[in-house]
Symmetry: C2
Subunit: 309 residues, 2 copies
């Protein structure tokens, strides 16, 4: 038996035939952002049909078609993905009509990434785990007792929007002090820009040439060269990451926390001394706490995780 | 079949024979705070023996003896209850030896209170729920898919120690900005004392006579009389309660959140406008969110919840 995992992104829809945690074949199409849920269904239908044809697999041999979407899935299975122009659509219904022998399941892409790590990657073998994807924002996925926890109304696992302090700029969501305004790549860039904008000299600017072009990588690279501004930015980032992970432990005390996303490319810097910072924020002292690990998958997490839905 | 629930407190150990969510008989003893885990086991053994004798029930008719303790229960069932002098003790082993036909189970008292509300009270019929006990501190219990979630290492469900902002005083746990430093009875009292200590005039002081004696009830009573300081204190409290509940929804999105503890006696004041404040902090707008309800049980929550372990 096979599963198909579909990773719906803002620019492309990727699909893959998966057997025992390995992608056997994958294909992709440009995301149709104009046609709403019907267009997305058509994207997926043609990718799935191409897969079964090219791989000489019968559709009856595909157990589950799992789909990760960049947005919210409510408890009725309806999806809201603002950045691909879907305000409310029942994708499951459309796909079930086309593939009546397959189980169709949809989840938010951050949840799907968590599932990939849980089923096949860095959280494999643990009972409960939380995935934090530190990128443009902070995505998260929660697994408890082997099950994805997306909440009673499909609006949970938004750990990036937990308020943890006051911050000097507001979050895109309209609130102030969200975890992701301290611990995303964007947060690192903005804080470097703030310090440099205040007249501080830094290698970061040499690397980026222009304050507008600063990347998280510039900041991490400058940190390696002991640039004082970079050290200040990364120390702040790590303190808040420790605080945020401490909050997660105080709340739900998982077996493992996996860190992925672009920021995790600098895992040597991030992980150095992180446990000590986390323990500062955990209310019980001297006890066993969650393992904090680095995510295994980069680009294939979406397909693999969706296939495990 | 019966269950027995035991509520271990700092001053007394209470036990009750429970059938179908009703306490048939209850008794209590002063807590032996000197003799460690053996003394606590003896407390419980004599209470249980008295119950079965007085009620003419055979011990074989008691399915579970559940115990709520004011402290931490680790994944090996060992308890750490600093305020009753138990640093590390295997209560389960001692009780299993005495009552070999009964299932023995232990949980933290805040978790037990959550279970009482879930099994018999304000959260009955819901799938997932979170109980917040707003008293001297903020206790919490988490139920997901009908099961108590205490964490992988027994250190979860400490929502009172989630960092949510900076505060002007440190928490007892050593950190700054814990939820309970904003939303407990203690937090209300301290903030009223701070404002009055800064020279503000208030009805609160008239009621309490002395700044040291201010109670949360004094503040709520003064709020009813539109005292400006009381309004400022309660508005601050409610804003942070909304933020904290918003954090819970963004994190785990439960079906229901139940508020208990001494502060919940002023539920008319607390609940007035609370949903609007909560929605401000929930990242998804215009969606269904958790019902926020008032807890049903006061004194019997410990016995009832423990009996449902």
């Amino acid at each position: 038996m096979y599963n198909i995992g579909v990773d719906v992104g803002g620019t492309s829809v990727k699909a893959g035939l998966v057997k025992e945690g390995e992608i056997v074949f994958k294909n992709s199409q440009e995301t149709d952002k104009i046609g709403g849920v019907e267009a997305l269904a058509n994207n997926i239908i043609s990718l799935v049909n191409e897969i079964v044809e090219k791989c000489s697999v019968k559709i009856e041999e595909v157990g589950t078609i799992g789909i990760g979407v960049p947005g919210m899935v409510n408890k009725h299975g309806e999806i809201v993905c603002v950045n691909i122009g879907i305000k409310n659509g029942n994708l499951i219904e459309l796909l079930e009509k086309e593939f009546p022998t397959c189980k169709i399941d949809i989840a938010n892409d951050a949840n799907v990434a968590a599932l990939a790590e849980y089923a096949f990657g860095s959280m494999k073998g643990y009972n409960s785990g939380i995935m934090l994807t530190l990128g443009t924002g902070v995505g998260s996925g929660i697994i408890i007792n082997g099950k994805l926890v997306t909440g009673a109304h499909g609006i949970g696992a938004e750990i990036g929007h937990i308020t943890i302090d006051k911050n000097y700029f507001d979050c895109n969501c309209g609130n102030n002090g969200c975890f992701e305004t301290f611990c995303s790549a964007t947060a690192i860039i903005k804080y470097a820009q703030k310090l440099i904008g205040e007249g501080r000299e830094s290698l970061i600017l040499e690397k980026a040439k222009n304050i507008e072009n600063i990347t998280a990588k510039d900041v991490f690279d400058s940190y390696r060269e002991k640039d004082i501004v970079a050290v200040e930015v990364i120390d702040r980032f790590k303190n808040y990451l420790g605080l945020g992970i401490g909050n997660i432990i105080n709340f739900i005390d998982p077996d493992v926390i996996s860190i992925g996303g672009g920021v995790s490319n600098a895992s040597d810097i991030i992980f150095d001394g992180l446990e000590e910072i986390i323990r500062k924020y955990v209310v019980f002292k001297g006890v066993e706490i969650a393992d904090v690990v680095i995510a295994k998958f980069k680009n294939d997490a979406g397909i693999l995780g969706a296939s495990a839905l």
